[in-house]
């Protein structure tokens, strides 16, 4: 049980996918303009991650031992089809959210965090349950980073900032400070 807890906490804050491994930066900078949209994209990403983790477990158990060179190709196909499914579901359930997410919804496919999740789960040989917990932790960590970033950016929009630093340069420096703060969690594991 404690093992599962550590997998969750480790993936969520200590080795946060976005701020520690630099994964999923495109949506991290692209969708963090508005808090509520950022949160919903985070939820969609968690969902895709969990399905991907599930499929990756099955692929690892049944197919990849026979054809290791298909690893990347099969993972990316699984991710692309899950994203397609989520896209259809969101379009049906909430057209407003569908418009707000725009291009970033199909781009979940090229969110490297999800592919990295499947690859890490494979290389660490997680069981089905461990994999699911890992996916949930990683997804929550991504959502946390995205929401924090969106909150910072909403604040920054109201401040008086020189025009030369506005935009991506400022976001990048904000992310650097956020990442600096997250380094504080690195002590958690050695303490355990």
């Amino acid at each position: 049980m404690s093992n599962l807890l550590w997998i969750f906490v480790g993936a969520m804050v200590v080795n946060n996918f976005t701020l520690y491994y630099f994964l999923g930066l495109c949506p991290f900078f692209g969708v963090s303009g508005r808090l509520i949209v950022a949160f919903r994209l985070g939820l969609a990403t968690i969902f895709v991650m969990i399905i991907t983790s599930l499929c990756a477990s099955f692929l690892n158990a049944f197919i990849l031992p026979h054809a290791p060179y298909l690893k990347l190709i099969s993972f990316i196909v699984v991710i692309a089809s899950t994203v397609q499914f989520v896209e259809l579901a969101i379009k049906k359930l909430s057209p407003a959210l569908f418009r707000a997410l725009g291009i970033f919804l199909p781009l979940i496919t090229t969110n490297c965090a999800i592919l990295f999740l499947a690859l890490t789960q494979t290389s660490k040989e997680y069981s089905l349950i461990q994999g699911l917990v890992f996916a949930l932790g990683a997804g929550s960590g991504f959502t946390l980073a995205l929401v924090l970033m969106a909150a910072l950016r909403e604040e920054a929009d109201l401040s008086n900032i020189p025009s030369v630093i506005k935009g991506t340069a400022l976001n990048m420096i904000l992310a650097g400070l956020l990442s600096l703060a997250f380094m504080g969690f690195a002590g958690l594991f050695s303490a355990a």
């Binding site: 701020l19 930066l25 900078f29 990347l72 196909v77 490297c112 630093i165 340069a169 990048m172 420096i173």
Partner: protein, 218 residues
């Protein structure tokens, strides 16, 4: 085939634009994940840049050759599978040829699949242009990406470890600026580079405006 002629000037333009004017990292702000994750040393940055160049040029060539045969509805999936094939090739070749670097780069070689720069070039350029132009465009973008990787990797290694390509620069008395090789340093350094490019862009625009005003007076 294409209706307009392929002149040498056009070929040159398509090649050069990726290096500076439309630099994939500093101007288009694409491909940031590998950009930040593997630029803690200059050598890693170069290895990653070369692997990305191989995948980008390979898949652009293939996509451009097949562009009349790929159905529109499944084009993105087709591109992804073509890219994944080239990445698998690159992954296995690096593992066989330079195992040390392959270990260092870890999963990031596989993650080239999810590099938005590569997919973006297929969708925006290779799928609508003749093969010769697609190869040149891919080569230009690759050089631009490699250049950006080298800038960031070089600066981070010099400040963070006091060396370049593993060769010590400042002697034993240098106190390394460790934060630069850690994740926050990557974000901050790229932020500063983007700031520099913004500033250069604004200065150029201001100069052009000043010149126009002068011209109007005269």
């Amino acid at each position: 085939m294409s209706t307009n002629e392929i002149t040498p000037e056009k070929m040159y333009d398509e090649f050069v634009k990726g290096i500076w004017k439309e630099n994939p990292v500093f101007v288009q702000v694409l491909a940031m994940c590998p950009m930040l994750a593997v630029t803690n040393t200059a050598l890693n940055a170069v290895a990653m840049g070369v692997a990305t160049a191989f995948v980008l040029i390979g898949s652009s060539t293939l996509v451009s050759l097949l562009r009349h045969h790929i159905p529109k509805q499944v084009r993105i999936s087709t591109y992804i599978i073509i890219i994944a094939t080239f990445v698998t090739l690159a992954d296995f070749s690096l593992e066989a040829l330079v195992p040390a670097i392959h270990r260092e780069l870890g999963a990031f070689i596989s993650l080239i699949v999810a590099n938005c720069l590569i997919l973006g070039r297929q969708e925006a350029f290779a799928s609508r242009n003749p093969t010769r132009l697609a190869i040149l465009d891919a080569a230009g973008m690759s050089i631009g990406f490699l250049f950006a990787m080298l800038c960031l990797g070089g600066v981070r290694e010099i400040l963070g470890s006091g060396s370049l390509f593993g060769i010590s620069l400042f002697g034993p008395n240098f106190e390394p600026w460790v934060i630069m090789i850690l994740p926050p340093g990557g974000f901050l350094m790229l932020g500063l580079f983007l700031l520099l490019f913004n500033w250069l862009g604004q200065r150029k625009a201001a100069r052009a405006a000043a010149k126009d005003a002068e011209g109007a007076h005269a």
